[in-house]
Amino acid sequence: MAATITPIDSERDRKRRSEEYDHGSGRRPPNDTIDKRTGGGGDGDNFNNRPAGRRGPREKLGRYRLAIFFALAGDLIFFIALVSVFFVTQSTGHFDPYNQYINDWHPTTVPPILWLNTAALLLSSVSMEIARRRMFAESHAMEEWLGIGRPTSKRAMPWLVTTILFGAIFLLGQTIAWKQLTLQHVLFATSQSSHFFYLITYTHAIHLFLGLGFLAAALYGLYASRLLENRQILVDCAAWYWHSMGIFWLFLFVLLVFFQ
């Protein structure tokens, strides 16, 4: 059963055997010189031929997840810096030609379509989560292991496509919002708050565009990649990236609507 954060098997198996002959690794057979005969039927689960550095079925997944979490932490700092710049600029004034200290921050009115965009992005996050969980559904993985087609890919695919569609709708909505602002003669260079409106929405849109690329790669991977694990990794990492961009957008949206 899929949990929000699927536990990694290597973490569950921390307890190690305490027999005298055991090295304490818990992974190697007691006598290294004797081949440990595992598996059979050519399905490639021979312990002695396992890929280097592998210590559990989800070792690789855990690695990629950790990397994407740290990368997203860095990205979060990027947005935090951007938001700090927003607040500092908002609160700083300047001297006008009459030598009076003024603060002429005029909030940019947020186009109402952003509310719809936000809803689309939230929906895309929901469908992404469904796609991610489909990849980890154990019964499907078992069917795949038994050689009955590729049920995980098949069942996750529609949701992945839905996510891409909603993501595209969001980006499209953003371009409509920019166009609406242009019609109202609110351009990047118009005022300080419009700088920030565009800077924040552009930066986030670039991130989402990369995310769409990520999702497209995951979709391609569903067909191109033979190993279930690689497909899981692709979808999983794309999902965490996508969710984070959704959460970042929520913060940025609240900032633009309520804190200008």
């Binding site: 090295h23 304490g24 690794s25 818990g26 992974r27 190697r28 290294d32 280097a52 550095g53 210590r55 070792e59 855990g62 690695r63 950790l66 990397a67 740290f70 990368a71 932490a73 860095g74 990205d75 700092i77 990027f78 810096a81 951007l82 700090s84 710049v85 500092v88 600029t89 700083t92 004034g93 300047h94 001297f95 603060n103 002429d104 921050w105 990047f188 260079a189 300080q192 700088h195 800077l199």
Partner: protein, 557 residues
């Protein structure tokens, strides 16, 4: 102690010794096998070559700066050329040499081996980060060829955004790209350290070199994005005038300083922490003792990384931050001195009653102790509010950060390169030459930068190409020292290259060190370990090593 035990160097019998038939250097042949390699050791070598190139590029600028300052009059170059010289010196040295120096070369080479694994977590991303570094380097060279930048390496606004027509955007792009290279390296290290440790390699069995890199990697991943947004804003300011840093448009130039130093102060810890990791390994090996207070040294790395994020405003005391915040940041700055002092004291106690020998890496490590301590202590002077007002933007600052960055980091880098040279190449460097170069660079360094402390205290401002005649004596001393220092850094380039072919065959463990990297052949196999080791001993366990060596069967031929 008798003369025979004055060295721990233990080379195999040169008449019979041979290099291992198969190793990572000759596993594949041809240029493409290097350019498309995923092997962390080969990528480390690629990095070593590229950072050496940029080190000498930056060094050439330093030489020209010192040459100009030989006389009080501006007679070698025009003032704006001089501005370009020190800016390019700073940009090249900081972003293309110091930041990737130890992590990308020694760290790349050693972290997987020290952890007992076959490669970093993401070999292809590792290669990508080298290509990004090269791209950043290319942009820097382009900025240089098209006429250089003269903002100083700090890109201070409004100078960089309004008053200069040099290649600011090209240089900014270079730094933006090089930043991604360092983020990817950091991510790779973090994941490798978390996930790929050999069985039995617990967190507190890891060598301190790995701990230091872990702390530095966290800084790389969390600090560099702030630099990215800062650079984007500078570029936007120059191209479309968004006015974030422009007071006439309601912006705040001080904001740039906050953003820039929020990255660049942690960045100095990115530069120094890996060097501290090297020193831990070297001190332990040449004192034949476990590093005193292992846990304290490990946690002080993490503490430095943590505190490093809360001291940035000490670069801005005279720029109009409020007195209250200046006070707070002054206190926090003093706080950073504590974990650094913990390290220095623990290394000192490691030396105490150790069987110290004076091979080249140890000489460089001793240089590190003295110079880093001076650099760190003067940092405390500068962190004190009253002193800072007198000393900031003078040569005192220049001397301070060169004592930390060159005296600290570069000495640590040289210590590390000499220490692991036999492991990386399988050959020993000539000991007498290397001792000479260690002593030369120590003397040259002090002669260069000690007068600058005095100059700064007397009030000579930095970044000026002309100065009153009364400062000439000290400036001549400094330039003379720079010449000696230059020789001290050129010598290793020559004899290390020489040793690639003619050096003595080093054997697996010439220093009789305990690290996992010394238990495998040198140069290592591409896969590092034929069998993943099972770690059952602490780091720096010399008894374990002695026990292991006793039971080893020595084969001849």
């Amino acid at each position: 102690m008798s003369a025979s035990t004055s060295t721990i160097l233990n080379l195999p019998d040169q008449t019979t010794a041979t290099m291992p038939k198969r190793n990572y250097l000759n596993n594949e042949h041809g240029l493409l096998s290097w350019l498309f390699t995923g092997d962390h050791k080969r990528i480390a070598i690629l990095y070593l070559i590229s950072i050496t190139f940029f080190f000498f590029v930056g060094g050439a600028f330093a030489g020209l700066i010192r040459l100009e300052l030989l006389t009080p009059q501006p007679d070698l170059m025009a003032s704006d050329t001089y501005n370009k010289m020190f800016s390019m010196h700073g940009i090249v040295m900081v972003f293309l040499f110091l930041v990737p120096s130890v992590p990308a070369t020694l760290g790349n080479f050693l972290i997987p081996i020290m952890l007992g694994t076959r490669d970093l977590a993401f070999p292809k991303i590792n290669l990508l980060s080298w290509y990004l570094y090269l791209a950043g380097g290319t942009f820097t060279l382009a900025a240089l060829i098209f006429g250089g930048v003269d903002t100083g390496w700090t890109f201070t606004t409004p100078l960089s955004t309004h008053y200069l027509n040099t290649n600011v955007i090209t240089a900014a792009t270079a730094i933006f790209i090089a930043g991604f290279s360092s983020i990817f390296t950091g991510l790779n290290f973090i994941v490798t350290i978390h996930r790929m440790r050999a069985p039995g390699m617990t967190w507190f069995r890891m060598p301190l070199f790995v701990w230091a890199h872990y702390a530095a990697s966290v800084l790389m991943v969390l600090g560099t994005p702030v630099l990215a947004i800062t650079i984007v804003l500078v570029a936007l300011e120059r191209t479309i005038g968004i006015g974030v840093f422009d007071p006439t448009k309601g912006g705040d130039p001080l904001l740039f300083q906050h953003l820039f130093w929020f990255y660049s102060h942690p960045a100095v810890y990115i530069m120094i922490l890996p060097g501290m990791g090297v020193i831990s390994e070297v001190v332990s090996t040449f004192s034949r003792k476990r590093v005193f207070g292992y846990t304290a040294v490990a946690f002080s790395s993490v503490a430095i990384a943590l505190f490093g994020f809360f001291v940035w405003a000490h670069h801005m005391f005279i720029m109009g931050v409020s007195n209250y915040s200046a006070l707070v940041f002054s206190l926090l700055t003093m706080l950073v001195a504590v974990p650094s002092a913990i390290k220095i004291f623990n290394w000192a106690f490691t030396l105490q009653k150790g069987s110290i020998t004076f091979e080249t890496p140890m000489l460089y490590a001793f240089a590190f102790f003295g110079l880093f301590t001076i650099g760190g202590m003067t940092g405390v002077f500068l962190g004190a509010l009253g002193m800072d007002i007198h000393l900031t933007e003078t040569y005192f600052i220049v001397a301070h950060f060169h004592y930390v960055m060159v005296g600290g980091m570069l000495m640590a880098f040289m210590a590390g390169i000499h220490f692991w040279w036999p492991k990386m190449t399988g050959r020993m460097y000539p000991e007498s030459f290397s001792k000479l170069s260690a002593v030369t660079s120590f003397i040259g360094f002090n002669l260069t930068f000690m007068p600058q402390f005095i100059l700064g205290y007397l009030g000579m401002p930095r970044r000026y190409h002309a100065y009153p005649a009364e400062y000439q004596v000290l400036n001549v001393l400094s330039t003379a020292g720079a010449t000696v220092l230059g020789v001290g850094f050129l010598l290793p380039l020559l004899y290390l290259t020489w040793s690639l072919k003619y050096g003595a065959i080093a054997g697996n463990n010439p220093w009789q060190a305990t690290g996992l990297e010394w238990q495998i052949q040198s140069p290592p196999l591409t896969e590092n370990f034929t069998e993943i080791p099972i770690v059952d001993h602490e780091a720096y366990d010399y008894e374990w090593l002695a026990h292991k060596t006793e039971q080893e069967v020595t084969t001849v031929g």
